[in-house]
């Protein structure tokens, strides 16, 4: 019993140290340091505002405060999703010496990649909170949905990251495929726009399990409305399914990691 507990503590501490290493290494020797965590979502927000401005110019409807706030709120989870998938995919390849030379629980690498991005997202969230205050968005009881929505996003992202990290050890194609998909994914995900703008195609767009989550987050934070429960249920189901499947694939492939890395 004591030994099991010790092993668990050791694994938790390893995860802590690896996450800390990711952050420490990323921001050491860079002039901007932790400001980079804000820059990425800031770029997405700026791009989004430009796009929304374009929309409003064409449609003749004025650009509303809520539209800007909505883009800002969606940008942070989206940046978290993209960066986590990107870093998690290469996390085992980047640590191949450890994978082949030392025995440790290998799932810590993609999970640490996720955690370090989560901390970046937390920093960016602070900035968004300031922005929302300036825009007088206000708060409501609907904010209580937020932790659940974030949890579903984290489970979904971690699941994808875990399976992609394992697969990319065996097939280098995975890394390139992920890059291509991430580059275009912003067109198929409601970050700059809202799903309802698509009218009858809305359901098709929401089949992307990240989409209902972004919609939900924007709803509860900016519009003070509850998220669409069926769609959130769908996302949660996808997240749990993907996570379970990924964990199974990861553990089935793990014995061959050292021979393939």
């Amino acid at each position: 019993m004591h030994a099991t507990l010790g092993r668990f503590t050791a694994k938790r501490d390893l995860l802590y140290m690896l996450t800390w290493r990711e952050i420490r290494v990323k921001y050491s020797q860079s002039v901007m340091g932790i400001m980079w965590a804000i820059l990425m979502p800031a770029v997405i927000v700026s791009a989004g505002v430009v796009v929304r401005f374009g929309f409003s110019t064409i449609s003749g409807k004025p650009l509303e405060v809520d539209d800007v706030a909505s883009v800002a709120v969606r940008a942070v989870p989206w940046a978290f999703f993209v960066a986590t998938i990107r870093f998690a995919t290469t996390s085992l390849i980047a640590n191949s010496t450890l994978v082949t030379k030392v025995y440790l629980a290998r799932e810590v690498f993609p999970v640490a990649a996720m955690l370090s991005q989560l901390i970046d997202a937390a920093v960016a969230t602070l900035v968004v909170v300031i922005l929302l205050t300036v825009l007088h968005v206000g708060v409501s009881v609907q904010l209580l949905w937020l932790p659940l929505l974030i949890l579903i996003l984290v489970v979904l992202t971690t699941g994808l990251g875990i399976v992609l990290s394992a697969l990319s050890l065996f097939f280098h194609d995975v890394k390139y495929l992920v890059e291509v998909v991430l580059t275009f994914a912003i067109f198929f995900t409601p970050v700059f726009y809202e799903a309802r703008m698509f009218g009858r195609w809305e359901s098709l767009l929401l089949l992307n399990p990240v989409a209902p989550l972004l919609e939900g987050i924007a709803n509860v934070v900016v519009r003070h409305a509850p998220p669409s429960l069926p769609w959130i249920g769908y996302s949660a189901l996808c997240a749990v399914g993907i996570f379970a499947g990924s964990a199974a694939i990861f553990h089935a492939l793990e014995p061959y990691f050292a021979e393939s890395a």
Partner: protein
């Protein structure tokens, strides 16, 4: 807790020669072959795979130190990777009874941009310690590494020796129940190696089981009671280290380099005291070295050279038929030449190898050579220490009393 720390039972490991599948392009045909049903049996070998280990079984008692020796590619590191869980065996079972730590690639977990202090924590958790444990042992780790002044320097500015010292210092403080050591003792300078050996003995005294893989046979002999000799993935011998090492040395080192198309060669080299055959001698004993050579075509102007090397491949002695007064030898086709050299073994304890050469008389052109054709051992003797037996005798050892009063040197130093 049982008395067994580790048990390997019929362990096999198969490796592929190439990559598993390099890209999706290779996977598609491979998968479709599988779907059609031409799936190879898991135990069969094809042209693209080989056995890295075959039928390896052994059992270690708690607190035992166990050596694994063998030439490069014998499968030593594969065994360690299987035991430590980095890889899984193709067949067979491995039971590990206790917390295991491996001193393989001790600096693998270092990040060059982080400082020594940060890397101690990072590497410590990678090797399986909790942060609380590292905090407790931090001072001991730093003291062991002797790198106090450089703790806040990024390790990318460390020398490779400092790098290895820090890695080893962390690793030896994991306090495992089973410790795997792979050739890491070759790090650092002489004093640090000494210190590592002492620390290993200390860990052993704490009832830990040690598996030690090394080419440093002296270290294996002094640390491990039992050893395993591996050759091409198969167990050759398991037993007391001294005997396993002897087997390894007598079989492993022999290499022959023949001229292509050479039609004369050394065919046999045997050792023994005059009139019999054995390979362990006392110092000062006489030993006969018999060299046989056979010619398939006529050869003129031959001489036979023997050379005795110590374990570090330093030449200790050589002689030849020419220098000992024999004239050039001529062999007709099919004839065999047998030369017996007699030497007095004025050597100290150690392992020695005999090389035999066929030379052209006068020009000393080498025709055939057989390196380490035979091996012999000189037993320990209380009379001889060092490398050679200089046949000491005591000429004088007497006291003298000063004639007058001892004024200058009251001790009476002569």
């Amino acid at each position: 807790m049982s008395d067994t720390a580790l048990r390997l039972d019929g362990v096999y490991k198969k490796f592929r020669k190439g990559e598993l599948y390099n890209s999706l392009r290779d996977l598609v045909p491979a998968l479709s072959r599988r779907l059609i049903g031409r799936r190879p049996a898991p135990d069969s070998l094809n042209a693209r795979s080989f056995w890295a280990l075959q039928d390896v079984s052994f059992e270690l008692r708690r607190g035992e130190a166990f050596g694994i020796i063998g030439s490069n590619g014998a499968g030593k590191s594969t065994i360690l990777k299987l035991i430590s869980g980095i890889m899984r065996p193709t067949r067979g079972t491995i039971q590990v009874g206790g917390r295991l730590s491996a001193l393989i690639e001790v600096s693998a977990g270092f990040h060059p941009d982080l400082t020594g202090r940060e890397n101690i924590y990072l590497n410590g958790t990678i090797l399986g310690m909790t942060r609380a444990e590292i905090r407790r042992r931090f001072d001991a780790i730093v003291a062991f590494s002797e790198l106090e002044q450089f703790l806040d320097t990024p390790v990318k500015r460390y020398s490779s020796g400092m790098y290895a010292r820090l890695g080893f210092s962390v690793a030896v403080h994991v306090e495992p129940e089973i410790l795997i050591v792979d050739e890491v003792l070759s790090v650092g300078d002489y004093l640090f190696q000494q210190k590592c050996m002492e620390r290993m003995t200390e860990i052993m005294a704490g009832d830990a089981t040690i598996i030690f893989v090394s080419h440093n046979l002296r270290a294996v002999a002094s640390l491990c009671e039992r050893s395993l000799l591996l050759d091409h993935g198969r167990v050759v011998q398991i037993g007391p280290s001294s005997e396993t090492i002897k087997t390894y040395l007598t079989r492993g080192h022999s290499t022959r380099a023949l001229e292509p198309g050479s039609d004369i060669r050394v065919t046999n080299v045997t050792l023994g005291p005059p009139g019999s055959s054995r390979v362990t001698f006392g110092t000062d004993e006489y030993m006969d070295i018999t060299v046989e050579a056979k010619a398939r075509t006529r050869h003129e102007d031959l001489s036979v050279v023997i050379q005795i090397m110590d374990n570090n491949q330093y030449a200790v002695f050589d002689t030849c038929t020419q220098r000992l007064g024999a004239g050039p030898v001529t062999l007709e086709a099919g004839e065999t030449l047998t030369c017996t050299f007699r030497v007095q073994l004025r050597l100290a304890q150690g392992t020695f190898h005999v090389n035999a050469y066929l030379h052209r008389y006068v020009t000393s052109h080498q025709i055939d050579r057989w390196m380490s054709a035979a091996t012999f051992f000189i037993a320990e003797s209380p009379l001889v220490r060092g490398v050679a037996n200089l046949a000491p005798s005591l000429v004088n050892c007497e006291k003298a009393s000063p004639v007058g009063p001892a004024l200058l040197d009251p001790v009476g130093r002569a």
